[in-house]
Symmetry: C2
Subunit: 522 residues, 2 copies
Amino acid sequence: MFQKLRSTLIQSGSKLANNWPWLGDKVNAAAINKTLEVCRYRPHPWSTVHDYVSWTSLTDQTWSARHLPAANRQNLPPPSALKGLFERSTTEQEFCKKSTCLFPAFAQYLTDGFIRTRMPNESAGEKDDPLRKQNTSNHQIDLCTLYGRTQVQTEQLRIKTGATGKKGQLKSQILNGEEYSPFLFDSNTGALKPEIDKLDPPLGLDRCTPEMRNKLFAVGGDRVNSVPQVAMINTLLLREHNRLARDMEKTHPAWDDERVFQTARNAVIVMFIKIVIEEYINHISSAPFHLKMDPSVAWHAPWNKPNWITAEFSLLYRWHSLIPDTINWNGKSYPVAATFMNNQLLLDSGLTKAFASLSEMRAGRLGAFNTSAALVGFEVKAIEQDRLYKLDSYSKYREYVSLKKPQTFSDVSKNRKVVDFLAKNYKTPDDIDFYIGLFAEDTEPNSPLPELIQRMVAVDAFSQALTNPLLSEHVYKPDTFSQIGWNAIQGTQTLRDILARNSPDQGGSARISMTQASWRYS
Amino acid sequence: MFQKLRSTLIQSGSKLANNWPWLGDKVNAAAINKTLEVCRYRPHPWSTVHDYVSWTSLTDQTWSARHLPAANRQNLPPPSALKGLFERSTTEQEFCKKSTCLFPAFAQYLTDGFIRTRMPNESAGEKDDPLRKQNTSNHQIDLCTLYGRTQVQTEQLRIKTGATGKKGQLKSQILNGEEYSPFLFDSNTGALKPEIDKLDPPLGLDRCTPEMRNKLFAVGGDRVNSVPQVAMINTLLLREHNRLARDMEKTHPAWDDERVFQTARNAVIVMFIKIVIEEYINHISSAPFHLKMDPSVAWHAPWNKPNWITAEFSLLYRWHSLIPDTINWNGKSYPVAATFMNNQLLLDSGLTKAFASLSEMRAGRLGAFNTSAALVGFEVKAIEQDRLYKLDSYSKYREYVSLKKPQTFSDVSKNRKVVDFLAKNYKTPDDIDFYIGLFAEDTEPNSPLPELIQRMVAVDAFSQALTNPLLSEHVYKPDTFSQIGWNAIQGTQTLRDILARNSPDQGGSARISMTQASWRYS
């Protein structure tokens, strides 16, 4: 009965807010401000460079910021012993009740843009310490995956001839009647094309067969090619950029190549942020209320401070267990490993079927005992990284974001197996490692995420997305995007909206969604 | 009579605020917030890179930000014709009624730290456009003049052996019983010392005699050596850093070299900001109320946004006419040109007498017809830079900071000669160039500055000093500075306070002040 009442209240509240825009704005602002009030605002006093406050810790963004200072925790179980929390006891994977595979695909594409931990080249003798404490992030949602991380990379990704019909566009090719990024390697010689030699080399290149290598895209992000699910999202945004550039060139014949490029980029970045908030965050949220991207919420907010990606954020986004063992793509099934670096799948299906395939497939359940065997090694790496950063305990992080500290192991999860595992490995609930606690928790009702991850994702999402300079008080106006870009932003709430403008069949009749068709709010 | 009444009111208001700390805090916060409400808050939509909003204009800080967008103004007089506004008609210099020469010395040292326009090397064929549109600034009050602009420079300026009694200190030498930075060149070979070869080379090196060259200091800033007035301030802060480091080493024997260095630097930077606000800004202000560095004013303020030095700021700080033709130093007089790159003056006088000499000397009156002949060429360069940046008119900038636009040329100045000059060169008051208008105005009562400069300096000073990360809500506390550093900050209001701790005679009995001894509030 309470469930029913709650559901009714939720529906009428939601209706109320949707019918009364003024009230809706207030509720939206209140919800976002409340989300951010749970913990300290930036600037963070500490980074991974020093265990105390220094000018370097406050200003050098090549080190990762930290929510809590370094802790000297003692007598902890070795990371290898903790691996067991992630390993499946049966071969059967458990699935998420809410999310489709479009959700992890988007999460990966999004976070690859700013969670950019420096990776040591171990064969070259490079060490985790200090490399993994550093990053190559711009600390912004800037679509560096599409546009490049540096000015030189951006230049190489653009056409820049200013030729009629090509002003302001990114380099691309047409294959099977659809637009994609150009290939990175010359298929005849196998050599890296010299005109795009300043891009970050794709991670995982050593695992590619020659066929896979020939189909790698020349893109901004070094992980865009990692799976076709991610390359797919980049392809969508590439098309949208070039579509906007074509329209802008027509409407503003006096504009040069540079202005068309910059204006189209302004629009695509903001459109992407809108999807982050209105499609992705709403999908994650357990609340029934639909949050909106209202930039004015941030304009005079005390939490509007310069972005800086934290060490904790880089760990809480390791959502390996969301990835199913088997990927269904355009009517066929592939073991997940067969999709790695395999853009041929995307080229064969085309963009609409790729989006449709992911939207039909359930994501894995995020949490304990559910990571694919192929990915368990990454969990151990993550625990080692937690220790390298000297992160404080799970319990301290719950307290930090105003959640209850666990008094007993049973407070962490209702799953007996999880409780037993924790009790076997830790003396008290206060000893649990951050990374272990994150994934030991049960997922929240109506969300694909457990409570602590959900809360920390929300804090970092709002406080780093709404602070984007393109959303700032004197910038977020039609002039910045041209009327064409502004209209496109206003007309976009979902990835499907962009797909409809950029696929030969206008997205077809397929259902494109991060949420499963059968899911209902409970 | 009104004057008397105003003066009485001012005194009682000031007394009230000083006697009632709570009221004082409120008045202080209100004064600062009111100062910043006169114009738009950051982020600035534009920079010198594009004439429209772009991701680059919003994020790439190697270009200078701008308060107003680029303007296409037509039919302007050539810069050479405008030079006349600065040239003296007699050889007699006019003096400022309020400021001593410590004021321009401090202003130069301060602004050299963050107004860092890139200078084209014209003999190497480098061009103003784009070089002078770019900068090498960190956009922070970070004392890069003392500590270096980059991590590599900072490393070279430090001792770093961690030897007992030397932990965390900057390299220095003792001459005549006083501490100075080491010399940059080997006096035997004349060669740049290899252990400090990554510092920015001193500007003006080509004008040095071998004797002057041998006495140049190895310091963070490339303009620190330009005149001994400026080297003097850097020397003071060097001593304070090393003094704090010595004390911290004694009190915290477990701290390593790095921690002592970082903690002393934290304290010296904040101490410097305190002097900027409590000594320098209060000197500039026409208000009788004594402003305080209260970091909490900024914590939740809507204007607390990331710093970014503007093109306009780099121009409005060209205070050439403040510099007297003759410098009295330790009882002798020197033509101003004889002080350029001449650290011998400082070494001969010692620090206390250097500060005392400047405090006894009147600065020039800032404004029209008062620049030393030797410096008039720089005024023409400045006008050219105004045009290169396509700055909007003086009138538009007054409007931007909520000041009245001039209706007639007589609204700009009461000086007939200035009015005639403007009328001769411009069709209407709306045509006056920004740089010309800045210096055509009369100085304000009780301030060394004219109205528009004063207002724009205040806006940029508060909005960029109080946003320093060391002053932020979760950082500005004793732990960040150690109790030693914290006490030193609390015990510092003026340069004299620091001098007393760092000169053999504790600053002696000399008057050290930016304000002339005979000056009275009117």
